[in-house]
């Protein structure tokens, strides 16, 4: 009990510590692929530190929602991170049905972010909030169809158990994993406002989704938002990487190794995808999300009828 708990604590710390590094690596890859030198890998840390030192100024029209929302955001992210396995270590929060909690704790964070954006009363941020809400509507089914279908097949409904039921020596399972990882990847891209859906680097009001919502935040609030968005990216990355653990052999060193190589490989993939794709037009995004949902449904179909 004691050791498992310790391992869980270490997992959360690892996730929280490495999340900005992951984002930094993605940005570096992207810079290199587009022929630039790019910011250093540790740049997200510097930025966080810089933000941390600054003073917070809130808009005059804002209420208490704007003040509690950044903190709720970060806390929810940490709770969500506490449900994911790093290597073969059992996460702290792991019980039957925690996939639902996982989905809705992320939903809670989004809810408060949208609320805070509307609270400020700026029309820009209201627009961003509307977009975020619309796309969340399409993104949620992806999660449930994909993770739900794995849960359905394995017969477990806790993230940790689900991942542990995956057996890579079964050929059908392998394809299933590939298909699942495609839709989880698409989900990650949407939820974390990455390239084909939203461009994190531009500040163009016409197209921004996530960036526009935190336009009026500064100092500690902005720090909290930024940090939680880094953690969110890393959470989805973990969701993706966890598919590829060789769960049949449970050795901690292999787990750590896969964790590291998986993360690095994923930064490559994200970097490449962000380099070769261009942002979709706003009206095409629901279709993109529906495509990912379709893949999830296909998963469910296939495994309902082959069992």
């Amino acid at each position: 009990m004691g050791l498992t708990f310790l391992q869980g604590i270490i997992s959360i710390i690892v996730i929280m510590a490495l999340a900005p590094l992951f984002a930094g690596m993605v940005n570096k890859q992207k810079a290199i692929l587009t022929g630039r030198i790019g910011a250093p890998v540790l740049q997200p840390y510097y930025e966080l530190i810089r933000l941390f030192k600054k003073e917070t100024i809130n808009a005059g029209t804002s209420s208490f929602i704007s003040r509690i929302s950044p903190l709720i955001n970060l806390v929810s992210m940490i709770v969500a991170a506490a449900m994911l396995p790093v290597g073969f270590w059992k996460p702290i929060i792991s019980f039957n049905g925690d996939i639902i909690l996982f989905a809705y704790i992320l939903g809670l964070a989004r809810f408060f972010q949208i609320l805070a954006a509307m609270d400020i009363g700026s029309s820009f941020e209201g627009m961003g909030a509307a977009r975020e809400a619309t796309f969340a509507l399409f993104a949620e089914p992806i999660f449930f169809f994909t993770i739900g279908s794995i849960s359905f097949i394995s017969g477990y409904n806790s993230l940790f158990d689900i991942y542990h039921s995956i057996q890579l020596n079964n050929v059908s399972y392998e394809v299933f994993i590939i298909v699942c990882s495609i839709s989880v990847f698409m989900l990650a891209v949407t939820e974390c406002s990455r390239m084909p859906v939203d461009d994190p680097n531009t500040h163009l009001e016409l197209t921004m989704i996530h960036e526009v919502m935190i336009l009026d935040n500064s100092g500690i609030d902005l720090f909290l938002y930024q940090y939680s968005s880094y953690i969110k990216l890393f959470i989805y990355a973990l969701l993706e990487i966890s598919f590829f653990y060789p769960f049949s052999q449970k050795s901690n060193s292999v787990g750590i190794l896969i964790f590291i190589t998986g993360s690095v490989a994923l930064t490559f993939v994200l970097g490449i995808v962000e380099t070769i794709t261009s942002r979709y037009r706003m009206k095409n995004i629901p279709q993109y999300l529906l495509f990912a949902t379709a893949i999830g449904i296909l998963n469910l179909l296939i495994y309902t009828f082959t069992k």
């Binding site: 050929v171 059908s172 392998e174 394809v175 299933f176 298909v179 495609i182 095409n284 629901p286 279709q287 993109y288 529906l290 495509f291 949902t293 379709a294 893949i295 449904i297 296909l298 179909l301 296939i302 309902t304 009828f305 082959t306």
Partner: protein
């Protein structure tokens, strides 16, 4: 292994439905051609024979190189607009396709209780047939109609492997030749349509009526 390939086939069908670029259809046709020829090669991995490899090789040649290459050439020659004008039903189309697939999978799993059959290739093949017809109905560009027809044919091929019907090689080659000639004639017709009508959309073909 058949299941794996059929799932990839289904993924390509989804892609066809959401994409708005004409070139993507050609890529999907190539991809499906590769899947089908791999499907045919599988039985020969363990007992290799020169005779058995003729059909997969021809299939690969026709469905991956000749037909998509020809369609590409038609697109280039005729300077067909690269984007499909987004029809109104685009948002309805994908849910429709998903619903169709669910129904097909359900139906074939019910039917598999009567006769023994591989549900996944069977249902994927049948979905491809229906999606091919959807493409012909819902899209206006004639070149997409041709692609829809080819997807339908690919679906039939997959369907054929699912019901494990073994036609003699002569006849399989004959069907391939027929399909190629159909596409060839359609290409020529498209070429003439450019010279005769104003565009390549089905709405231009409305002269014959009572």
């Amino acid at each position: 292994m058949e299941n794996v390939l059929s799932i990839l086939f289904c993924l390509s069908l989804f892609y066809v439905v959401v994409t708005s670029r004409v070139k993507a259809y050609v890529t999907v046709l190539r991809f499906q051609g590769i899947i089908l020829s791999v499907l045919l090669v599988i039985p020969f991995i363990y007992n290799f024979s020169i005779f058995g490899i003729i059909l997969p090789a021809t299939l690969l040649l026709v469905k991956v190189f000749l037909i998509p290459g020809y369609i590409n050439k038609v697109i280039l020659d005729l300077d067909i607009k690269r984007r499909i004008e987004p029809p109104i039903q685009q948002m309805i189309f994908l849910p429709l396709v998903i619903a169709t697939m669910i129904i097909v999978f359900l139906a074939s799993s019910i039917l598999s209780k009567i006769t023994e059959l591989d549900v996944i290739p069977f249902a994927s093949g049948f979905s491809a047939i229906i999606i091919g017809i959807y493409l012909i109905i819902f899209r206006r560009k004639l070149i997409i109609h041709v692609c829809g027809f080819l997807i339908l044919e690919n679906g039939i091929f997959l369907f054929g492997t699912a019901v494990a019907s073994e036609l003699p090689m002569m006849i399989e080659l004959g069907t391939l030749l027929d399909i190629f000639v159909v596409v060839f004639l359609m290409g020529i017709a498209l070429n003439r349509i450019r010279g005769t009508f104003a565009g390549f959309e089905a709405t231009h073909l409305g002269r014959l009526k009572d």
